[in-house]
Symmetry: C2
Subunit: 373 residues, 2 copies
């Protein structure tokens, strides 16, 4: 179980297969985020229709609502939300640090206040793993401490605690049908990152995540950090860059040897009427789209692009119809999943490093903001 086979390499980029109890995962892969046991506004059928393979869900949210015990009683997360393919849960650490009012971090764990009802809760590495065992995803994450990237003293302390918690997470893990990944921390300090990569790489995790990026550092800092970390990681384990990202981050991540990505960006943009396209990121509410009979992207094979005009999508947005968010989410997710499919083919063909600058140029327009038209 959890064997990772590299099927081809091109520069530092790798294409491979990670075996899980819910099927083989072809990497590099982009995972849609289903925060509350649902990728917002989409059914599992929609996800199958865009060839999604791995879906992420959030331990912090599911622990608070509906509760991990309830999910376990309902047959686990796969059965509860009826997603038959591989799933991943995070440890809850990141949301504790970003969403809740933290009351106390100590060596043993974190006491925090629910962002929903203000009730008090406590996560420790053992508790996070127990909750993730109840949820039952194929890939689960060690409990880590996420530090402010601009506070070097705290970064080091948090990294060291993350290492101790990594060992406790491993010891607390009881299910052989779930792959527990360790997490490399260390902010944007190359020495700390190297130290963390070596520590985590030496532990018997079947996969390794890179945490604490895409939290305010520059793109350059992110890519330099990857340049430090991935060469220190074992070849035969998948690497997961958490919470990343934009199309150009995916291309740059794969170029640096990353295999797994997740991000809320495609679905969040969709709910704000922004769509990825070869012309750049489109704000579909803009007036010129009112009579535009073309699909979002004429080269896209998704249900939305095969079926609906920009004019119709713009009408749904103007009329405040929720179907707009569903249809644009389908397209934006498919755009990133299709990008990963193209990258996998290019790695297999040995042409990815050669094609990457062109791919980056194509996605450059989509990076930051909507076009004015």
């Amino acid at each position: 179980m959890f064997e990772y086979t590299i099927t081809s390499k091109n520069g530092r980029a790798r294409a491979g297969i990670f075996r899980t109890p819910h099927g083989d995962l072809q990497t590099p892969v982009f995972a849609p985020v289903g925060t509350q046991a649902t990728v917002k506004t989409l059914t599992p059928e929609h996800l199958k229709g865009i060839n999604a393979s791995l879906v992420l869900s959030n331990t912090y949210h599911l622990y608070l609502r509906p509760g991990d015990e309830l999910v376990r009683e309902m047959g686990g997360l796969h059965n509860f939300m009826q997603w038959p393919n591989p799933m991943l849960t995070d440890s809850g650490g990141f949301q504790v640090f970003s969403l809740s009012k933290i009351r106390k971090i100590d060596e043993d764990g974190v006491t925090f206040k629910s962002h929903i009802d203000g009730s008090m809760h406590r996560f420790t590495p053992e508790r996070s793993i127990q909750i993730q065992n109840n949820l039952g995803a194929d890939i689960i994450m060690a409990f880590d401490e996420c530090a402010d990237p601009n506070d070097p003293v705290y970064i080091q302390k948090a990294m060291e605690r993350t290492h101790r918690w990594a060992v406790r997470s491993l010891n607390g893990h009881g299910r052989t049908d779930q792959a527990l990944f360790g997490i490399v921390q260390g902010g944007v300090d190359p020495d700390l990152r190297a130290q963390s990569a070596e520590f985590i790489a030496a532990l018997p995790f079947p996969g390794i995540a890179i945490g604490g990026l895409s939290v305010g550092e520059t793109k350059d800092e992110m890519y330099k950090t990857l340049d430090v970390v991935t060469p220190l990681l074992p070849e035969n384990k998948p690497r997961y860059l958490m919470g990343v990202g934009t199309p150009e981050d995916l291309i740059n991540g794969v170029l640096r040897g990353v295999d797994i990505f997740d991000c809320v960006l495609p679905t969040r943009l969709a709910r704000h009427h922004a769509a990825f396209s070869p012309e750049g990121r489109l704000n579909l509410m803009n007036a010129p789209f009112a009579r535009d009979p073309r699909p979002i992207d004429e080269t896209c094979d998704c249900y939305t692009c095969r079926t609906f005009s920009r004019a119709y999508l713009r009408h749904l947005i103007a009329a405040k119809e929720l179907l707009a968010g569903t249809l644009i989410s389908i397209h934006n997710l498919r755009a990133l999943i299709r990008l990963m499919e193209k990258i996998r083919i290019a790695i297999a063909d040995g042409t990815f490093t050669e094609q990457a600058p062109q791919m980056l140029a194509q996605w450059d327009n989509n990076a930051k903001r909507a076009k004015t038209t």
Copy 2:
């Protein structure tokens, strides 16, 4: 075109086929409402999946936004919203009277204020038909005046004007690929209803609608009105009871010779977490459903019931996930469409009038309010 063939009869109930340019409509039929060129939160694929045949859209809303000229430019309503099967538009009259601040009704038409931006607009019978010609539905409606059912003097005046407007609607209709239906008015006064039925029946409409019901009168008044009207209508034209209704209204309507129904009830209930079930109408937010592994209705063949537990639906509602509305809408619409399928089979078998009391008893629980569990 627009031939109506009765394939079997049982008492006053009829089963038949109405031919339209977008396919044959099997009657009796229940039409989901797609107010703004979308059945709220559902894709056309969802509608095909529940065997929806006829979809209604609202002329008032589409005229204001995105505009009927724009819809025509985009290839008409079928192409705009990508619904390949039969469609129906109303005349806009009912919404002018219920949603907008009316400024002036005169013999020629109605001047009204948009509920969206307060701008002024005018509908006449000719204008309503022209707008509906632009929208391009298979079945369109004569422009009528909807009167307060509790004002007998106004009811008569409005009915007489509706008759004059019916003639003007016919004269204003230019497309042979759209069936224009006349509308019987007259409140709950049996004499006025009889007079209106005879007047409208004498005009060359390919189908006849019964308007002004389900607007505050009692169920008894509605059924008595149908008992007056339908016997006066020609056998070989389909009869459409506008804006009705609840499951028991559908059964009672078919028993009285009605062929076509539409109502927002199933989708509106769904967005308020209420689901039709054999146990009665369920409020899925209620606590006992949190750990209920059963589908909404074990006998239902819809995607929602084939796939998801009440526990999952309850979680989506509690977590304010919009997917809840989508999934419950699929079920509620399928429940009424399946009811109509059963009724068609029972009419063909000659057992509908016999089965009707049992069908009514089964749906009785769903009639008014959610169960407390």
